[in-house]
């Protein structure tokens, strides 16, 4: 296709118990998704502080996705419920500031959903790529 195809940088925070295992399963099943997706392991999706998300954008990420256990399946019983509320509020705030809502996402991926993980990442990467570079939450000092 194009010579200089734009590659978005995507940070995926995955909870250790479900989504990280789901990502492993995607690997086991050799389900491809873009290499632009880089996973950071956290014990639970509720460990993800809004500061981490903004930090990722500051440092050049184009999209941030948080993956956790399905509601009701949290290893810690309620962590992902908190994630759900916090991120709903935070994403709505980012949108309020005019930052593209497609750059952030929360997705529940169980340890059995390797296919869902890969599909989610493919879809997310595609949506973010369509948006182009993150300009609205960038820190020019961090650009190469």
């Amino acid at each position: 296709m194009q010579v200089n195809e734009y590659k978005p940088l995507i940070v995926a925070f995955c909870c250790n118990w479900c989504s990280y295992a789901g990502a492993d399963l995607a690997g086991n099943n050799r389900l491809a998704y873009p290499a632009d997706v880089k996973i950071i392991r956290v014990p639970c999706s509720c460990r993800v502080n809004p500061m981490f998300i903004l930090r990722a954008f500051q440092r050049g990420a184009d999209g941030v996705i948080i993956c956790g256990c399905h509601p009701g399946d949290c290893h810690y019983t309620s962590g992902n419920y908190y994630t759900r509320r916090r991120m709903a509020a935070l994403f709505s705030m980012l949108d309020f500031l005019g930052i593209e809502r497609e750059r952030t996402r929360v997705e529940w991926v169980s340890a059995a959903e390797g296919a869902k993980f890969a599909a989610t990442m493919n879809d997310f990467a595609q949506k973010v790529a369509a948006l182009g570079e993150n300009k609205r939450l960038e820190d020019l000092r961090c650009k190469k």
Binding site: N49, R59, H75
Partner: protein, 664 residues
């Protein structure tokens, strides 16, 4: 900053096939802190592990990064390797370049590039790792079981059999719970008393078990392995130790018109009473609301007839403090109140009864000595209507009913209908249902027998209204399959009332800092994998307090809870997960936000005196995390606005370093 060694694994060709491992180990050499970087065919092999151990010695490594398969695979392996090499096992980080890199990317260039970035993130993190040491806490080898129904009894017996002392706290004067009130049990139809009372006797005779009947838990402090519990032993005005349970006092008691709660008020008992013949402990109890002597000091008959001299009108509530290593909640259930269900005329007619009342009516030890009669006139009922799902699966009537399925009603209604038809073939028995749910072993066969062998008339549809008219109950219902309205003149209507957790559960959950769902059922630590544990470490769940269940399920869960308790009590010390939350008290505001989100109740507060830099002192409320209870989810770290709360092993700084490394 650490002295980091990087070890890139080929995993045969699993990694090396799509990732240039040589390039990865070369690239990571220049990362801050890295003093050694290499690659090898199988890092997890003995030779690979030896390579790590040697490098630790040779290069005085303080941190290790292994770029290999998923940490879920070999993190434990490499941690052991680190420990064997003399460095803290938590100074190891894994970069997952197999499952999340070589296996999902086809192109060598992209794979290598990504592997390097993942490696950089791991190096950035390990540079900020600190050695972690799991905390240890001793275990008090005694268990507390709250609730003396079949769940509590079975759990206590199993724990006691393993050799650990157990205390049962039961709020009623006797143990036995709901099962003691039942007549027969499905699907085998053996008599409840026949299988329950021997167990009650076992409990009474077991040297490892103490029963605190007529008692309640009033305070719980401490944490897994070390609970301090206060038990209130309510005054029963009878010295338990000397009462022989002969019953002479009961016979002589002039106050005979007290509604008998054991028979659900369908007959009366005395002011001094023993709930039922096989009660354990078989000890009399004086009802202070009914006893003349206690109310106005006039009577004292029972004291006079008691040969043992066990009556003690001056007895006071007693508070007992005991230490426990584990607590099992077995607070059980109750049928919900039918008062609000006007459409079924429960309050208007004595002949509209609940299923539990029906149990008592058919029980040989019940108010009618087992003879099925209409409570209003004692006559034999000919047409009996059973209504299922009264208050269950009730989405639209949340204010009076429950949204969930009470699970046991289908089976006991089938049992009641079958038994009625069996004993009184002259009766006509209708059962109205939404669905018949009979998934247990031999359950569906049982239900089919009721329909096919015993001719119980099952009607899919709900009863709309019941109107008492003369000595009949006019039942208006719909038959959804035939699609018509039914009008039945019934003699007796039995309502399968929804069940709900016992009212004592909510305050208990607060004391235990155990979480509950919106219906006040206790929440499991994990709905599938840890179904008998509460999220609060050291608190276990047995029976219907966790959700509606029948006897076999209750007993198996009771055994499972016991096994978990035994597993806990068998340990001398508890090793904690060192990746727990930690509060920096200098920054803590004491706002309690973190405690609000902690699923484990691991956070407590204390007023602490601080020396301020200007040499004054200030007393501030600060959070303290109990590392023995914290499971390390990190919910508190985000809830904390000041950032005082951080998670060891997944610290803010570490995760941000990973973000930075990935994004640069």
């Amino acid at each position: 900053m650490q002295r980091v060694g990087v070890f890139v694994c080929w995993c045969g060709s699993n990694i090396a096939g799509t990732v240039d491992v040589q390039a990865v180990s070369e690239a990571l050499k220049n990362e801050p802190g890295v003093v050694f970087s290499t690659n090898y065919q199988y890092m997890c092999s003995q030779a690979g592990q030896d390579m790590i151990k040697n490098a630790v010695k040779e290069h005085r490594l303080t941190g290790i990064v292994v770029c290999s398969c998923s940490p879920r695979m070999h993190e434990a392996t490499f941690r052991k390797t680190a420990a064997a090499a003399g460095i803290n096992p938590y100074m190891v980080e894994i970069a997952n370049i197999r499952e999340q890199c070589s296996w999902v990317h086809k192109d060598m260039l992209t794979g290598t590039e990504k592997a390097i970035i993942l490696g950089k993130a791991a190096v950035a993190k390990v540079n900020l790792n600190t050695p972690l040491i799991p905390g240890e806490s001793p275990v008090t080898k005694r268990a507390l079981v709250i609730g003396g129904g079949i769940a509590g009894i079975q759990t206590a017996l199993d724990i006691a059999d393993a050799g650990f002392p157990v205390d049962i706290v039961e709020k009623q004067p006797t143990i036995g719970g709901k099962m003691a009130q039942l007549d027969k049990t499905f699907p085998t139809l053996d008599c409840a008393a026949c299988i329950l009372t021997p167990k009650m006797v076992d409990v009474a005779q077991n040297e490892n078990i103490r029963i605190f009947s007529y008692s309640e838990v009033t305070e719980v402090k401490g944490f897994v392995g070390n609970f301090d519990v206060t038990i209130k032993k309510k005054a029963r005005f009878v010295n338990e130790d000397i009462c022989t349970g002969c019953g002479a006092c009961v016979e002589k008691c002039p106050m005979k018109k007290v509604p008998n709660e054991f028979n659900l008020g369908m007959d009366n008992r005395h002011a001094i009473y023993i709930p039922f013949a096989q009660a354990v402990p078989k000890v009399a109890t004086i009802d202070p609301n009914a006893c003349n002597m206690l109310k106005n000091g006039k009577c004292g008959l029972c004291a006079r007839v008691c040969a043992a001299g066990a009556i003690d009108y001056k007895q006071k509530d007693q508070f007992i403090e005991e230490k426990y290593g584990a607590i099992v909640v077995a607070t059980g259930f109750n049928p919900i109140s039918m008062e609000k269900f006007d459409e079924y005329a429960y309050s208007q007619s004595k002949d509209v009864i609940t299923s539990l009342e029906f149990e008592r009516l058919t029980n040989a030890a019940g108010p009618s000595a087992g003879k099925l009669i209409r409570p209003s006139d004692g006559k034999h009922p000919h047409t009996i209507v059973f209504v299922q799902c009264v208050g269950s699966r009730c989405e639209s009537c949340a204010e009076k009913g429950k949204e969930y399925c009470s699970k046991i009603c289908c089976m006991y209604t089938a049992k009641h209908a079958m038994l009625t038809r069996d004993k009184y073939p002259d009766t006509e028995v209708y059962v109205f249902y939404i669905d018949v749910r009979t998934p247990g072993k031999n359950f569906d066969e049982f239900y089919r027998r009721a329909v096919e062998e015993y001719g119980v008339k099952y009607v899919k549809g709900m009863v709309g209204k019941i109107v008492p008219e003369g000595d009949k109950l006019k039942v208006q219902a719909s038959d959804l399959i035939a699609n018509r309205q039914l009008h039945i003149d019934a003699d007796l209507v039995v309502l399968a009332a929804a069940i709900e957790p016992d009212k004592s559960a909510r305050p208990l959950a607060t004391m235990l800092t155990a979480s509950m769902d919106t219906n006040d059922f206790f929440t499991e630590a994990h709905p599938k994998l840890r179904p008998v544990e509460s999220p609060t470490a050291g608190v276990f769940l047995s029976g219907a307090c966790q959700g509606p269940k029948d006897i076999p399920e209750t007993v198996s869960q009771a055994g499972a809870a016991a096994a978990k308790v035994i597993g806990l009590l068998a340990k001398d010390k508890l090793m904690g997960n060192p990746c727990v939350a930690q509060s920096d008290e200098l920054m803590c505001n004491g706002c309690s936000t973190c405690a609000n989100v902690c699923p484990y109740g691991a956070i407590s507060y204390e007023d602490k005196e601080f020396r301020m830099p200007d040499r004054t002192t200030k007393i501030r409320r600060v959070a303290a995390v109990n590392p023995a209870v914290c499971q390390g989810c990190g919910a508190c770290t985000v809830a904390c606005p000041s950032g005082a709360m951080d998670l060891k092993g997944f610290a803010n700084s570490q995760i941000m370093a990973e973000v930075d490394a990935i994004c640069k």
